[in-house]
Amino acid sequence: MSTPVLLAASSATTEHRPLIIALFGAFVLATLVITVWAGRQTRSAADFYAGGRQFTGFQNGLAISGDYMSAASFLGIAGAIALFGYDGFLYSIGFLVAWLVALLLVAEPLRNSGRFTMGDVLAYRMRQRPVRTAAGTSTIVVSIFYLLAQMAGAGVLVSLLLGITSDGGKIGIVALVGLLMIVYVTIGGMKGTTWVQMVKAVLLIAGTLLITFLILLKFHFNVSELLGAAATNSGKGAAFLEPGLKYGATATSKLDFLSLGIALVLGTAGLPHILIRFYTVPSAKAARKSVNWAIGIIGAFYLMTIVLGFGAAALLKNSDIIASNKAGNTAAPLAALEIGGGAGSTGGAILLAVISAVAFATILAVVAGLTLASSSSFAHDIYANVIRRGQATEKEEVRAARWATVLIGIVSIALGALARDLNVAGLVALAFAVAASANLPTILYSLFWKRFTTRGALWSIYGGLVSAVVLVLFSPVVSGKPTSMFKTVDFYWFPWRTPASSPSRSASCSAGSARSSPRRSRTRASTRNWRSSPSPESERTEPHTVRHHPTAAS
């Protein structure tokens, strides 16, 4: 029955293309209506950057999940489990555990001490211009890497699902994704983007729940039976259910995975598009609640991807999954087709269309969040506070943010189109590595270390950023391996794909050396910084109001 799956899948995608396009069109239409509605309520900078800070903990939790569960985690993890069994699951765990860092250390103090961007938290205590430049640079670098991976992935994925193979078609799809994301962000601002994330999260959870339920039904709700069938059908037997198929090959790949695990756990709470989400709620308490919701939703989602992945391994032939996409990215849609009744059946076609439309929605919501993070940081940190030295009006700032969105959108369409045939999956790991090495340590030092200085912050950000980018540039992600971005050239000497652990350490060393710096910041910011209570409920003790008092300077 599964022999003609591949052929059937491609013919099914062509045959049922109208259905997929109709579902996708409905999503686009609904989100555009929401965007226009949100745009009409977006007036102040707080509206544009932080959605007016009026979202509830639950809404923001849903939006965080929508922002975080990218196509890479939806299709990528299900595919990795379908191909490599346990190692795919192992990969997903770091993405969840990471949220505890956000919950325990970052979300609440960040909400209390910042306004719109990561740079705000640092500028609270340090000299504004240098730290904002650094924070803006790192935000934009992380977001562009992440964005590029999503855009190129979108092209590949949509081509596969719609059966488009021509170069023009792929470029057209990347351009469409880019255009929609520009519209969402410029018109809807944070409010529109947040609603898009929420709609997407609900669709993603509903779609995954449906397929998970159907797969479990087929295996009589017996997980052991499902795993057994997956192990047998994969042709790898018990090894399929044990660690080692993907990351266990050599000593290098093992260390690489350890490094990846560290990058995932420490990187999540340093991702700019996640950080700015904590500003959309009215209080630190609501920020805590939203992370709790996010942990629940994301945890449930990854538990379902286990069923999805092992289900795909049990239902489909390994060779068919690989033939459709080498990385297994289409395993989940193929499993949906199979569980719905197989190729040619109406049920299969409908499920395939649903999952494909959910995947589009996922890509759109994530790229919108990333674009918003980078354009906010450009407008608020670099334009308003560095270039205009704080003299820009709110209107000018928001206008700059909109133009930055258009610019970033165009750049990412161009890069995404150029990179459409490169293997850019490693760029996501790079984004996590930079977030873990540059952003998170700097945020934590700034929040919890009284004697942290401007110099320490600069070393921490640039040290982490440069070391991560340089190491990846000379790693197999970029050159020298069949899976590299540039296969034909070979200039790698650094063997690991995710250099998170080394830069993390170098960043903390450099920051540590700043301790002896004569410029001790005898600031009291550390008090107000954190739940010090003065601020939660409203904007009234925003950091900048404190600066109006001359004595704030020591």
Binding site: A231, R524, T527, E539
Partner: protein, 124 residues
């Protein structure tokens, strides 16, 4: 700490809401006070050790997956092996820690923070 840039322009819609902000002196006074020190200690003595604990537990799991394949492959029942049980254990501990922290924050941190804030705003 000196700032290079002048303060950002006052934002009408954001800052004029609610009572006047406490002054810098009041913030410093509160920071140095015992009540705030107690609040900070209550938070840190809970969050920091817990963070170390879950990171250590996660690293242990990754190291076991990397270097103890035989142990991880031991069958517990049916096709469920130790690796799967430990992996699901990571989910369980994550949910558990989130719940523990939220309970701690609601019971021990929020009331104290609220008390300090009410007093400061009353004074201001």
């Amino acid at each position: 700490m000196a700032t290079e840039a002048p303060p950002p322009p006052r934002n009408g819609t954001e800052t004029d809401r609610g009572p006047a902000s406490p002054t810098t002196e009041q913030f410093v006074e509160v920071q140095e006070g015992a009540e705030f020190g107690e609040l900070r200690r209550t938070y840190r003595s809970f969050a920091f050790p817990l963070t170390l604990a879950f990171i250590a537990w996660y690293l242990l799991y990754v190291l076991l997956s990397n270097y103890a394949g035989g142990f991880m492959g031991t069958k517990v029942f049916g096709n469920i092996n130790v690796a799967l049980v430990l992996g699901l254990g990571q989910f369980v501990t994550t949910f558990l820690i989130a719940w523990l922290y939220s309970r701690h924050a609601a019971n021990r941190l929020d009331p104290r923070a609220e008390a300090i804030r009410t007093r400061m705003e009353g004074d201001a």
